[in-house]
Subunit: 196 residues, 2 copies
């Protein structure tokens, strides 16, 4: 049928939004099927059980970050632009009602997840850390970042800060994002006068 892939995509889209706003146990198949005007069983047709659906969200999540960073990972580039990309992404997600990221949302339900989903989610963290490590290493070489310690640990630390502030934005509002991003820039010794 012509709408086949379309329905599947719409299910994933809705599930993604619901997952980020309410968590794994905070939404049901009805929350997806009703707004789409389909039946619950239609979701079961595409995703036999809920974990199959969650698996699709995790895969989607990995693909998105890979797409967004593919060029940099292959060819390198301006470190500051990459870092600003991370900030802008978090900002946009907040604005469209997705303050908390998928990997963060799944952390709460972690021991409910089957092993393969844990592994897939871990790959998202691994990839993100590798990307930001490369950004920081290059930025140091380009003399636009300055920080103490290993790039890999600094990368974990910045990812944690972004993760944490997105979580806190739910309570405090998204206005806290930009000041904290500015603090990260300050801590990286970024000269505000020089734009990339």
């Amino acid at each position: 049928m012509a709408t086949a892939t379309n329905t599947r995509e719409q299910i994933v889209d809705h599930a993604y939004q619901l997952m980020l706003q309410r968590g794994l146990n905070g939404f049901s198949y009805r929350d997806i099927s009703e707004p789409l005007g389909i039946k619950n069983a239609a979701i079961h047709y595409h995703f036999p059980n809920k974990m199959d659906l969650i698996r699709a969200l995790v895969d989607e999540n990995i693909q998105r970050v890979r797409r967004a960073t593919a060029q940099f990972m292959a060819e390198g580039g301006d470190a500051r632009v990459q870092l600003e990309g991370l900030f802008a992404f978090a900002q946009r997600q907040c604005e469209c009602g997705r303050p908390i990221c998928l990997a963060g949302a799944l952390a709460i339900d972690y021991d409910e997840l089957p092993e393969e989903i844990k592994e897939a989610n871990d790959r998202f963290f691994d990839y993100s850390r590798k990307w930001l490590t490369k950004v920081l290493q290059l930025g140091r070489e380009q003399n636009v970042f300055s920080f103490a310690g290993q790039a890999e640990i600094k990368a974990m630390s910045i990812l944690a800060t972004v993760q944490g502030i997105r979580q806190m934005a739910r309570a405090c509002g998204q206005d806290i994002l930009e000041p904290v991003f500015q603090q990260i820039r300050l801590d990286l010794g970024i000269d505000p006068g020089i734009n990339p």
Copy 2:
């Protein structure tokens, strides 16, 4: 009855643990009543509905942080000791199966919460931020911390980092905590040779 307050406390204890491990919608009254050898209705007796129970957890959370920091907030003290207290607390919580903090766990379920619980939870964030801001300000005056920007924003940034890394510890294991805490120390220019 002699066991009255005891039962109530045990309910709160179990609920606290379950809330942190599975999130608001990830545990049921049965998960509390069964291990305690009581009936679901006994929980309803103490907490007429689930939100009353959650409210008790949030109150408990605020009281704990106030107790832990009361002396410093009244009289001041060594800034490094306070900061290490935060790190040690996070470390201990991870070790006893509570990687994610209550306020963070509730962030996922935020729009499900009644207004009064949101406000109570916000007070936890506010209080934590005020405490850490004071720690950073004093540390700067004591010449043991050095950082760029406002103490209040730096405080938010550090709280976010701790919050975020605790979330990530669920996936990556608690071994990532200490390196990231060390990064926070480095970023604060803490001299590792001088112990408080």
